[in-house]
Point group: C2
Chain length 308, copies 2
């Protein structure tokens, strides 16, 4: 029997620590190696809720981190008997669950919306590097094998913008009316700018983020500067239209904050961390709108976790 620290992430931003005994014979090694003998140093366990398995055990991931003996993360997987849950934990079991890592833009979009409404939720990180979302697509609840997946009781949802619509509709009473479904014209404007975000801005910003943040950091390559520059030009053209729009109204859909604004958070947040932040800051109305968005406590919390 091996002894580890289990980091149980019940709720975004908070974590309860449990000391667990694991049966090493049940561990399934992802990467081959002498992992078994070297677990003592800097490991933690991310585990999935029991609802994904049977009622008696949970699947867990054991990942070495900042370890002196593991230069790269090593992921193990196994089953762990369920602890008897306290009543507080049972209550938490009822909360909604988001499957997806904080750095994923689509996951961040969903979490931002939950935070706006103060909805209690738990987040289950998904190891995208290990293609966990592809391998366990059906398990996670998205047949296309993408994150995030959102669980609310028996209901499983995917597609981040469909999930944020669901959250905004369900929790409207707890916060701002982000969809304006009761007003035909206002809801049309929200829908238009949600589509612009999804089909135009997302598409234009994505190659910049991929080249400048994913290629050097995750893939260890050099960014293709030509792709970056062409994409920056496309973003600039789009933001010229945004600038004109935001000169007419405080927010994209009108003089009210809506899901169309909030859905922009993740991609623009990454964009502003690149050397091309001026595409936002050089346009006064876009800049003011972006600062308004980013300054919201929900957005502050989500972007702080995207950084890590």
């Amino acid at each position: 029997m091996w002894q580890f620290w289990a980091l149980q992430r019940w709720k975004y931003g908070t974590a309860a620590m449990y000391k667990q005994r694991l049966d090493a014979t049940k561990l399934k090694v992802y990467r081959r190696g002498a992992a078994k003998q070297r677990f003592g140093d800097a490991v933690f366990i991310l585990w999935h809720p029991n609802s994904l398995l049977n009622g008696t055990s949970v699947v867990f991931h054991l990942i070495s981190r900042s370890s002196t003996v593991f230069p790269v993360p090593v992921v193990l997987r196994g089953h762990l008997p369920l602890l008897p849950t306290t009543s507080q934990e049972t209550k938490r079991e009822m909360a909604v669950t988001v499957y997806g890592p904080s750095y994923s833009t689509a996951t961040a979009r969903v979490i931002a919306c939950l935070e706006v409404y103060g909805v209690e939720y738990r987040q289950v990180p998904v190891d995208l590097a290990a293609a966990e979302h592809k391998q366990q697509a059906v398990l996670y609840g998205n047949p296309f094998g993408q994150v995030p997946v959102f669980e609310d009781g028996e209901l499983k949802l995917f597609e981040s913008r469909a999930i944020t619509r669901y959250i905004a509709k369900k929790y409207k009473g707890n916060g701002p009316d982000l969809l304006r479904e009761d007003n035909l014209e206002e809801s049309a404007m929200v829908n238009i700018w949600m589509e612009v975000e999804a089909h135009q801005l997302d598409k234009a910003v994505q190659p910049i983020i991929f080249q400048l943040l994913v290629v050097p950091v995750l893939l260890g390559g050099a960014p293709d500067q030509k792709i970056v520059e062409n994409s920056v030009k496309n973003v600039e053209k789009l933001l010229d239209v945004y600038e004109a729009r935001l000169s007419d109204s405080k927010y994209l859909a009108g003089d009210f904050f809506s899901l169309a604004d909030l859905n922009h958070l993740p991609y623009l947040y990454y964009l502003i961390t690149t050397p091309y932040a001026s595409v936002i800051t050089s346009r006064p109305h876009v800049k003011a709108w972006w600062e308004d968005l980013l300054s919201r406590p929900a957005c502050q919390k989500v972007t702080a976790n995207m950084k890590r």
Copy 2:
């Protein structure tokens, strides 16, 4: 003074013909040439409603077609004094307007939705080949210069999927409830599958349509078969998920016809006209679902016009 036939398209599928006198001195030539002397043969005028200009004249487009003297279409533009409108025409002026050509998938998506609800509308074709939508973006009402643009009184909308949401919401009483906004879970399912269409199926099918229909027909080139084959593989993977979904429920969002189904019409219609129709017809549930969709009178009408 030159004399032309003016084809005034008030309503999709019907057209009133007017013989007009035009002042040639007011014509603005798009392509330089001796166009003025050669108008007698096979020309017609597409014109924009007066609401786009001032109250006394309309802008018109004069396009040669199948002409013995013009091997390629020639586009002229000018102003035409408004005729006194009859009361019937005034009523038609109040109807909604769709700017965009019938072969455009996004335009067809909007028109299919109007047809489902039996909404009276007029369609103003836009000459995409002459990049008319780019040049007159602000005039048409889409700052990003894309078709379709949708006009309902003073309200101008763009982004086809935002427009179909608007139509389905406004005219719910006249036909099927395509959005299910009154039901939290059903609307979530509609939204999920609308996102799947927009972000996954559209993206996967688009290169096939471009290579097989646009490249040879409009650009006079040869399709890149490698792109086509890769895209077909992607579509097949997606349609495997559709097949599983449609084995569980009759339609994508559940056992009810929704906007998620209807939005699929234009791209799948073009796909079924290619040599890769079997990606649809070889999957029994996808095939049955597609045949159900295509057989609807609204869809029959729209696809008949896409063909032309």
